[in-house]
């Protein structure tokens, strides 16, 4: 979230798209309700009428996989009808920047496409530079090569008729959404977007998010109270684990994982430290060397010295993609031999689970760390599997639940909140920290005894959280994440003082300031609001970066530091003596001295975004399995998506599988279900696997509410109870009626409530940028079960 949960109450309009917040983030509706009490309008965009839609002023149905077309259509309306915020566009975004005249777009492809590699060469996706090397601008936004005009041209193809025929959403509803949402282009109004996995889990997932962000920028809704682009994270600590680099492409604090071409620290820093010649650009990532060296000092302590590149060579250099699908494909192919699976249940939650369960069968060993014996831990007892034929050795380590251990949880709003042990874990169950500490210590012993070819990274690890078999001191971990001044041994006060000479350490620069000599900031519980009274509560817990509750907040003011919305101001300039008031500003420089989007070297938010793999503007492409031909271009699928074509990776056609399917969660169950399908009270509420379908589809298939039906895709087949409901309706796509069904993905073969796993149906294909699986749009067929 750029903003945070409580801030939703400040919105004048709320669009929930790619999210069913009422069901999956119930607490968010505390704040949605407050906004609505103050007159805010709620828009729900979803293929299915959900418990979120039930509360909405406007419900706009779109078929799964058509978000870009929908939002591009809304943006087109906003641009054509001058609803955008021009001052904001010029002052805070790259709308006025001139783009290379060679840049172009034709029939679904941007310039620079290499079809043999399925990737783009981005040399034309660049700004025109002036003699000092800074981007050229046209503040009137009239130059045909300025970002705004290029965007306008790109969007103009997304006419109401076109968008309606792609999404299945009636044109008048698109207009209603555009007008209602577009009204927040007024300077003192704001709107927020709440999104989740319905947005991201597509082959165009990253571009989906970008589309929302661009809509927000057009209307001046980023950096302001009640605005922003707000990812509702799927688990309580997903934000925290992402910050701490649970993903393969980043190191803690969103530093880049070294690539194989970054052979030295100097080469790494050269490649990943952005430069700017513009004195008004804060270019915050220019500090990358300080954060990188401080991280290496946290990892390897005294073994990281200037002479050995601060142990940079201990870091692995990636040469391939190590995301979820890639790893399971590698397990299936016998490349990866062992797996530690902590708090994850891919045998239910992974895409194409029949393939992923098969991949587990090929492992030499599997360590499953969880509260219960999950489907993953017990993959060898899946229906139809003969354990005698499986050689995998499985270790089951019982884990402590969140209430049984102390530590921090970082919520979607970036608030790190300290928690205490409420009860001790039962039996042999141990905290994840204890388990990892023991594995770390044993690995060190093994490498010390038998050094092997490259023992340094393990043997020299800075690993001091407590002796022997004791519960490690979680405060020592939190302090290491914050970092130390190594010359004094004191905790760092904030990342501003981190150095690249080896005299400071920080396990995650973004969390530097979270645990200082003044104490554990995440444990603070002072419920006093900030003077602007917009619900920042700055002394309740702590949030990154440096306790800034709304990021990009300099963009909530004009260039003189006056808030656009005085009645809900975030920060304001109070003069050279007293400086900024309100939230922690995005840098303390006087207004106008520095640009507001400090994380970008050009200092402006990018309507033209050249960082992504699949294009600087969002373009509609169909999902891997789509019910129609792409109406926008000859490019059916996102042209840079990786296609997996191994065994068990079959793709279905609309002729054989004419019904669109999507997956989702329900309030009553959580993720792959081990925590909720083992709770009898929750099982009572949602006891069985079901499929939701329209009355028309049910009628065509002779299905009645409560009948058993079979759902088939090219990957698998499952059985479920039919919920026949008016909450699903067929979509009219280019004149043709197309049905969609929906499936909860919580069920499996273990626990109190069992049922077929929806992910038996989903494909192994991921987003072009992140490789997040396309769980949300695929093709199936539905038949009534006989006998």
């Amino acid at each position: 979230m750029t903003n945070h949960w409580i801030d939703i109450k400040n919105a004048d309009c709320i669009m929930i798209i790619g999210s069913n917040a009422a069901e999956n983030h119930p607490i968010s509706f505390r704040w949605v309700n407050k906004a609505m009490e103050n007159g805010a309008k709620l828009i729900s965009v979803d293929p299915r009428f959900t418990r979120t839609s039930s509360r909405a002023d406007i419900y706009a149905p779109i078929r799964s996989g058509s978000d870009i077309a929908f939002v591009d259509g809304v943006m087109n309306y906003i641009v054509q009808n001058n609803l955008f915020n021009q001052e904001y566009l010029v002052d805070h975004t790259n709308a006025s920047f001139l783009v290379n005249t060679q840049f172009g777009f034709s029939d679904g492809l941007f310039t620079g496409y290499d079809g043999s590699k399925r990737m783009y060469k981005k040399d034309t996706w660049q700004y025109q530079l002036d003699e000092s090397g800074n981007p050229k601008k046209d503040p009137t936004l009239q130059d045909p090569n300025c970002v705004f005009q290029l965007l306008k041209k790109h969007l103009s193809r997304y006419t109401l008729e076109k968008v309606s025929s792609i999404t299945g959403c009636p044109a008048e509803l698109i207009v209603e959404v555009a007008k209602t949402y577009g009204a927040t282009g007024a300077k003192d109004k704001s709107a927020t977007i709440m999104y989740a996995m319905g947005t991201t889990q597509h082959t165009v997932g990253t571009q989906n998010v970008r589309t929302y962000a661009m809509l927000q920028l057009l209307l001046g809704n980023v950096g302001v109270a009640g605005g922003g682009i707000n990812a509702l994270r799927g688990e309580s600590n997903v934000q925290g684990s992402t910050d701490m680099a649970i993903l393969f492409h980043i190191l803690p604090g969103y530093l880049k994982t070294p690539r194989v071409e970054n052979q030295t620290l100097a080469e790494y820093l050269e490649m990943w430290t952005p430069k700017s010649n513009d004195p008004k650009s804060a270019n915050w990532w220019q500090h990358t060397p300080k954060y990188t060296v401080s991280l290496l000092k946290a990892f390897w302590g005294d073994h990281a010295t200037k002479d050995n590149e601060f142990a940079y060579q201990y870091l692995p250099k990636v040469s391939a993609n190590y995301s979820h699908i890639s790893m399971f494909e590698a397990m299936y192919d016998g490349v990866i031999k062992g797996l530690i699976c902590m708090g994850q249940n891919p045998a239910v939650g992974g895409p194409n689970v029949l393939k992923e369960r098969k991949a587990l069968e090929k492992l030499d060993w599997l360590v499953a760390v969880d509260l219960w014996e999950t489907e993953t831990a017990a993959f060898w007892s899946a229906p139809g599997v003969d354990p005698k034929k499986i050689g995998t050795e499985v270790f089951m380590l019982p884990a402590a639940a969140s209430m049984e251990k102390e530590g921090s949880i970082t919520n979607s709003g970036r608030w790190s909140q300290w928690r205490y042990t409420a009860v001790h874990p039962p039996g042999d169950a141990k905290s994840d920290l204890w388990i990892l500490d023991q594995i770390g210590k044993e690995l060190k012993k093994l490498y010390q005894a038998d050094t092997g070819p490259f023992p340094g990274p393990i043997v020299h690890l800075n690993w001091n959280y407590g002796p022997g078999r004791e519960e490690p001191d979680v405060h020592l971990v939190a302090k290491e994440i914050n970092g130390y001044d190594l010359t004094t041994g004191k905790l760092m006060a904030s990342f501003g003082a981190l150095k690249d000479d080896g005299t400071t350490s920080s396990g995650n620069w973004l969390y530097c300031a979270s645990y200082t000599e003044a104490g554990n900031m995440a444990a603070r519980r002072d419920p006093t609001d900030a003077p602007n009274k917009i619900g920042l509560y700055p002394k309740w817990s702590w949030c990154w970066p440096v306790n800034r509750r709304i990021i990009y907040n300099r963009a909530s003011c004009d260039l003189q530091g006056n808030p656009y919305a005085p009645h809900k101001w975030v920060v304001k300039w109070t003069g050279p003596e007293t400086k900024w008031a309100g939230d922690v500003p995005d840098g303390g420089w006087p207004p106008g001295d520095k640009y507001s989007f400090i994380m970008k070297p050009e200092g402006h938010a990018r309507l033209f975004g050249f960082g992504l793999a699949d294009g600087p503007f969002p373009e509609h492409y169909e999902p891997l399995e789509a019910p129609v031909k792409n109406a926008m271009s000859a490019q059916q699928l996102n042209p840079v998506v990786k296609i997996w074509s191994g065994e068990m990776d079959d793709v279905g056609t609309v002729e054989k599988y004419p019904v669109i399917a999507t997956t989702y969660r329900v309030t009553e169950h959580w993720q792959a279900g081990q925590m909720t399908r083992n709770n009898s009270w929750l099982v009572e509420l949602m006891p069985d696997m079901f499929v939701e379908m329209s009355k028309t589809l049910a009628q065509a298939k002779g299905v009645k509410n409560g009948d058993r039906v079979r759902i088939k895709t090219a990957r698998g087949e499952i059985s479920a109870y039919a919920v026949v409901t008016a909450r699903f309706k067929p979509f009219k796509l280019n004149g043709k009626s197309c049905e969609q069904i929906g499936l909860p993905w919580h069920y499996g073969y273990k626990g109190l409530a069992t049922g077929h796993s929806a992910n038996s149906l989903t494909p192994h294909v991921g987003d072009a940028n992140t490789m997040i699986p396309e769980y949300k749009a695929f093709l199936c067929n539905v038949e009534k079960e006989v006998g």
Partner: protein, 267 residues
Amino acid sequence: MAEKAILLDMEKCIACRACQVACKQWNELPAEKTTFFAAAGGYQNPIGLSPKTYTLVKFYEHEEQEKLKWLFRVHRCMQCVDPACVKACPVTPVKAMTFDKNTGATHVNRELCIGCGACREYCPFTIPVIDTEAGKSTKCTFCFDRLGDGIEPACAKACPTDCLVFGERDQILQMAHQAKENLEKKGRHPVIYGETELGTGTKKIYVLPEPLDYYPDVVKSPKVSEDLGFFHQMLKPFGTLTLTASLVGMVLAKMKEVKEKDKVKPS
């Protein structure tokens, strides 16, 4: 203690069913064995109130002119200001259906209850359910065992959206009228239910965002049966004996028989 009440502003309900589960947790009620969604109307489970379920979220799906409404309602004991169930309870000298003066809660004293069913028979909303195995009446207790310690009811505590709010009845009524007014401004036709029903009203104050027709199971004009006095008279001769459920059952059956006869008589 000023009279307490719970606001149920169903416009704010997202049917998360936290109240339903919190009720079970506080009252240590076991889960029911359910299958699919046996009750009509979407996700509702279990099928109805029972000795194991004192609070139940109901779902209502309405479609009119392509416009869909998916409504929710928390269903359980209304906690009448002047509870007929207490009057009906034949157990003497101390009533098993207890009106707790301290908290204002009406709840079943399980030690005294004989499970006769008179409370259900005379409840204007037909709420209490007899646990035939244990021979006890069961229903929402208004969390008298929390209120007594100054803690709000479990359902209101668990509600994430301020749909359920516990407070003084006067203030709750004000909030209800404010919520109604807000909805009316949006052109909706909300109903306050529980303020004046039965004359003296109830302690569960509903704001239903749509007219009562949208909630077919809600009793439109609840009334306390007029034969409550007659019932007690019929029981009087047994006053010296220990009342049993079967004896009261016989009396109730007899009264029903009489009533049925009255019905078939041509008027």
